[in-house]
Assembly symmetry: C2
Amino acid sequence: MENLKLALLGFGNAGQAFCRLLLDKQDEIRDTYRTDVSVTVIATASKGNIYDPAGVDLAAALADIEKNGKFSEKHKLIAMSTMELAENADYDVLVEMTPLNIFTGQPATDHIRAAFARKKHAITANKGPVAWFFRELSQAARDAGVCFFYETTVMDGTPVFNLTEHTLKMAKVTEVSGILNSTTNFILEGLALGIDYDDIMERGRKMGFIEADPAMDIEGFDAAAKITALLNVLMDAGITPDQVKRKGIEDITVKDIKDAASRGKVIKLLCKGVRNEDGSVEATVSPVEVSRDDILAGINSTTSIVSITTDLMKKISIIEHEPEIEQTAYGVFGDLLRVLDAVSVRP
Amino acid sequence: MENLKLALLGFGNAGQAFCRLLLDKQDEIRDTYRTDVSVTVIATASKGNIYDPAGVDLAAALADIEKNGKFSEKHKLIAMSTMELAENADYDVLVEMTPLNIFTGQPATDHIRAAFARKKHAITANKGPVAWFFRELSQAARDAGVCFFYETTVMDGTPVFNLTEHTLKMAKVTEVSGILNSTTNFILEGLALGIDYDDIMERGRKMGFIEADPAMDIEGFDAAAKITALLNVLMDAGITPDQVKRKGIEDITVKDIKDAASRGKVIKLLCKGVRNEDGSVEATVSPVEVSRDDILAGINSTTSIVSITTDLMKKISIIEHEPEIEQTAYGVFGDLLRVLDAVSVRP
């Protein structure tokens, strides 16, 4: 029986949900891949760091966090930093789930670079590295002969990157568009329904997806990072989020929304990328009016959509309906299964 | 250089579009798979049958049909029946595109049985075999160690089966639903817009997707076959189309549609399959009212949608936007690429 060792960088809600899923599925993984999966590193900013080459007791780690918000002394706690662990710990797959710095893609990118320098696989749920450094990182992974997977970075575990790679063979992507930011979508929907702005924000925070400071969402930075990630992977755009023509919903008023409604229209924050005649890819994020009969008008609450146009299959779309944290966890889990596909000899 | 030989059974619009795509992509296939693809058989009901083990001149065959509606004497014409060719001709992959008999799945199923009996791969664009005989045929393919692919049978080349197989690993499908029949969707939309029934039908026939006799669509038989195919593959339902609780749109009146509209609703012909507590799968096709704000309400014209609910990823949906015959061709082509993936040694 082989053993695949994971280093988890970041252990927030998604990381914890991923570990619960891993515990649930460990027998099925063993049966399918003849491989055990263990976690040797859990690195966090505020809960402590565990490093145990023999494998962390995940159930105990989860119980610790639930009870006390930090790891207890029964684990092998270590004073190394996250970066030191990425560079030195014993693991096969680095799982990058640290908090996103949307303006730099760091320190997540350095963690992944460290993994590739050691010929370790990397899975990232953090979109920063894919938005800022995709070409460099994917080349580094190829050079190292290791896997680099990032399905979770856009629409959780919904297959967007895998869809195109595995099911649209030989088709060339000519355009990508979508509604990708839940916070703005939720706000626009709420305002259209006549709900007070503060009530909308309160509700979104209770549901867990609106940040304490939602500026990154409202001003379109999150959407810009997501469309950049999509375009870098699906169209080899080689762009960074600061190159996106970005306009958020900060200037949209209730009057704008009502005026649009009076014309049978709905305002949505649309992300879009198209290839210019010179081969470059142009990306925009901006509020647009869509017909109330358009499919986009039905994308409400935390639901999101990506439409992919190819030369051979024209336009197809994929929708994720009101995801929870478990769908983020599944994205990382699905990438882990792809690593297992790559490294294991199935029975 | 290897050579993969195809037997095309049926050469209607989709078969011809597939051949055009094959001609376009032959160099790319050769570069990618180090394999040539040739067509040794084209069997038709009314255009003649060609059998040429050295490879049919596809460009000439296409030109013949375009000019005269049948194959000319410059091809190696043969008096064998389609079934005799399936049983005796020299080919590696049988491509089943004969006209569908929705009540029996024949003769398409016998063609595929013949291929598997000879350990040949089969691709079907014909949904009959998947709706009526999926378990038998997929077992026969496994026993013969050959490929059996059928992506085109629902939503053309839109990845529905491949999506689930390749991108939703370890997730168990618990429910499938969708709007799968263009004719009824187009009729319901037209009636809601106040267009006269005869005008709708005229327009749909001109666009090429409404049949001379649309009863199979209107009474829900086509939708029933499609949801059966989906459920047999995605949920191992083991059902046949006659087991679907089927109600078409034949009894829907303009008044029904107007009444629904007055309540903010739209009528759609919805296909659905759920697993019962005893493990069996229950399938229905019936007109339902959906809210005008629902995503389903935005599925208009020839656009279609499938929603797949799994234990791990909850509900995701995939939409095919107003396909043409080229998207059907791509479905068969994508399946061919999967056969090439399976048989070829890539460089």
